[in-house]
Symmetry: C2
Subunit: 86 residues, 2 copies
Amino acid sequence: MKAIIRVDLKPGVLDPQGQAVAQALRGLGFDEVADARQGKIIELDLDERDPSRARERVEAMCQRLLANPVIERFAIDLVAETDAPA
Amino acid sequence: MKAIIRVDLKPGVLDPQGQAVAQALRGLGFDEVADARQGKIIELDLDERDPSRARERVEAMCQRLLANPVIERFAIDLVAETDAPA
């Protein structure tokens, strides 16, 4: 089973990396860029076939390592291997 | 209009950051983690209402700044503001 985890800064938390991206894009002439925010995507291959167990474990991984729950939020998508042939 | 851009390393390109994540998770007792890969998500607010023009511009942004086309691939999703109220 695969887990696709998206980790973003919570709305309202200052995102200096996103601001740098927006500024760099405008510097290149992309003047239509009003704002940019940057987050990360983590894709895990899991030796686990039970979706509810997998979700519980991945939530624990996010809380303990992958996200900082004080300033970040995360979203988890589970994909059965048969749905997504590599 | 919003653009959501996902940038990943191409399959086959070594991902040391992903390997570090997998190793750290296993070190915390998440033994079911077989592999991890890490990418980034960039969300842009664009002052542009024409979707085909927006896509063309965002592709140029990816080629010039947001992705390294030698080792990374990118995927662009456009979302009209009315579809996604903040």
